[in-house]
């Protein structure tokens, strides 16, 4: 974790109201893994005030100039509107990497990746990482390869299921193999949501779902995974103030204990944002 001023390398529109921001990463902060997030201070003034959390969507080693990191964001409010106006060459206050990343799939687990909305960012990063491991399995240079024994060479790419309202909203990004496009209106790919697709097409064996998206989507995935006996690593989205575990503002409810007693909350920023299926009451998150 490090706070630093980063140069913006690119800030391009990838879909209506969606942008991809690429910034120069300070190697001293450590390499962000899929599931990690960072916070950005969108302006220098006091309105909007708070830093904004964004999941890391890629981390490239870079040539000479050092590594770069990207985020994918939707222009939704005053903070993201300020971000959207930043031009390459501008500097931005960055803090990261923060949170706990996705665990790698264990032996015998078939990974299925699913994303909704700007939850696309962290899952895309994970999909790229798993594909990298699959394509170069056995190479000791790939981080995480030793643990990822079930995504090795010769196996099919993990299904990477993304959902949009219609085909014209699909962002202009290089997607790894394994992509399954779902549209609510059936204008492209599978007609339905990623959860519908998984319910009908997921492999019958042991699976681990990796997902990020709006809370109703995560709740639906949690129900599906529980019913099928799958594991799930779900990355939650929540309003945050500090991002480092101090303010207790971004909590999510834990499931009630036997007898219905509350077991309190977990912090999305420091205990997550990636949680296992049983960690959170996803229906109330």
């Amino acid at each position: 974790m490090l706070q630093f001023d980063a140069g913006i390398l690119s800030n391009r529109t990838i879909a209506p109201d969606w942008k991809e921001l690429i910034l120069r990463w300070n190697p001293g902060a450590g390499r962000p893994e899929p599931g990690h997030f960072l916070t950005l201070r969108p302006g220098r003034g006091s309105d909007p005030l708070l830093r904004r959390p964004f999941a890391v969507a890629s981390c490239e080693a870079g040539q000479g100039e050092g590594p770069s990191v990207s985020i994918i964001y939707q222009i939704r409010g005053p903070g993201t509107r300020l971000l959207a106006d930043l031009l390459p060459g501008a500097m931005i206050d960055v803090l990261g990497p923060l949170g706990k990343p996705f665990p790698m799939p264990a032996m015998g687990e078939s990974p299925i990746l699913a994303a909704g909305g700007v939850g696309l960012g962290p899952v895309l990063y994970l999909a790229r990482r798993l594909e990298e491991i699959r394509a170069t399995a056995g190479a000791a240079t790939v981080p995480g390869a030793a643990q990822a024994t079930n995504v090795g060479a010769g196996l099919a790419p993990a299904p990477f299921v993304i959902g949009f309202r219609s085909a014209d909203l699909v962002p202009d990004l290089p997607f790894p193999p394994g992509l399954v496009l779902c549209t609510d209106d059936g204008s492209a790919g599978f007609h339905g949501t990623p959860v519908d697709w998984m319910a009908h097409n997921a492999p019958s064996g042991a699976a681990r779902i990796y997902a990020c998206g709006p809370s109703p989507m995560l709740a639906a995935i949690a129900r599906l995974a529980s019913g099928r006996g799958w594991k799930a690593s779900l990355s939650a989205e929540q309003w945050m103030a500090c991002g480092v575990g101090a303010c207790m503002g971004c909590v999510l409810p834990r499931p009630a204990a036997v007898g219905g007693a509350s077991q309190g909350f977990l912090r999305a920023c420091a205990d997550g944002p990636v949680f296992e299926l049983g960690d959170i009451d996803w229906e109330k998150a």
Partner: protein, 331 residues
């Protein structure tokens, strides 16, 4: 000549006037990787209550114009877990550590302070040999006991007295302060709520009860309504407003309190830089706390300290204690 940044709060001498506000800084370790926590004058911990509190339902926070609302609900692990898990960590600190205390009755506040006194040992024993130098400033405190003082959050509803907030009634503030004064020789600071007609009267009550200092201000009650869903944005309806939006209120309250009592006043509310902190010091505060500003940029607390020092050097002010006397109120 290097300005004297030390500040006396009752028996305690803080190495410098800049601390981090309760509820915004956890127990200090959360920010360890991002700043030199021990270079601060003091950290004010998250509130400690007798029982563990999970806190309020979500959403708990929402951004407002130049500020934010929070309704965390004093989420904390309770006094026993505090003594077991947090106190050993706090004993390693080299800055002053002030424990923020909250409760629903006088007995709750007493229970927390008595338990901490038992675990940390009496002030006299702890203070012996605990004089040192922090960041060039002299520190006289309780050192390795992990506890230099208490900040009393009186913005809680008093369940035993019909749920009225302790801090809005001078008689209750005086009684509570006197009871706690009897339980500790450590620095005792009463944190005032701005949600009253006359903050001076409350400050006076704290002084009469034996407080070593008052800090002001706690958050202002506020509400944001989600018009699309036709309901309050926060799960609890209202929350506490903080950030630059409340700064003029905090400065005015500090000005009022400092002219009403002779004990030190610690100012907080919306401090984002040295100039903001200097407003509080000129208004009559001897020390300040940075709260929401740390969320925005963790470099703000120590940047504020450096800026105060640079301003003093430029203005030829020898001691931070001299700053309140510099304010001119003539038209």
């Amino acid at each position: 000549m290097k300005p004297d940044l030390t500040v006396r709060i009752g028996p305690l001498v803080l190495p410098n006037p800049v601390g981090t506000a309760s509820g915004t800084f956890g127990y200090g370790s959360e920010y360890e990787e991002l700043m030199d926590v021990d270079a601060l004058g003091a950290i004010y911990t998250k509130a400690v209550t007798p029982e563990p509190r999970p806190g309020n339902p979500v959403p708990r926070i929402v951004e407002t114009p130049s500020g934010m609302l929070n309704s965390i609900g004093l989420a904390n692990p309770g006094i026993e877990a505090f003594v077991r898990d947090k106190l050993p960590e706090l004993r390693k600190r080299r800055c002053a550590v002030i424990i923020n205390v909250a409760g629903s009755s006088e007995a709750d506040y007493l229970e927390v302070i008595e338990r901490i006194e038992e675990a940390a040992g009496p002030w006299e024993a702890a203070a012996a040999g605990a004089t040192g130098t922090v960041n060039g400033g002299r520190y006289v405190g309780a050192g390795r006991s992990g506890v230099d003082g208490y900040e009393i959050n009186v913005s809680c509803p008093n369940v035993a007295h019909g749920g009225l907030t302790f801090g809005t009634d001078p008689a209750q503030v005086e009684r509570l302060t006197a009871a706690l004064r009897g339980a500790t020789k450590r620095a005792l600071i009463v944190k005032l709520t701005p949600n009253v007609a006359d903050i001076g009267a409350i400050a006076k009550a704290a002084e009469a009860g034996g407080a070593d200092a008052v800090s002001c201000i706690n958050t202002l009650v506020g509400m944001v309504i989600d018009v699309r869903r036709k309901r309050p944005f926060l799960a609890r309806g209202t929350g506490g407003l903080s950030g630059p939006a409340v700064r003029p209120v905090g400065v005015a309250c500090t000005f009022k309190a400092a002219r009403t009592v002779s004990i030190p006043v610690i100012g907080l509310g919306g401090i984002m830089c040295a100039e903001d902190a200097l407003q509080y010091l000129l208004a009559g505060a001897v020390a300040v706390q940075v709260g929401t500003g740390t969320f925005v940029d963790p470099r703000i607390p120590l940047g504020t300290l450096r800026g105060i020092e640079a301003w003093m050097e430029a203005e030829g002010v020898a001691s931070v204690k001299d700053i309140p006397g510099l304010l001119s109120t003539q038209a």
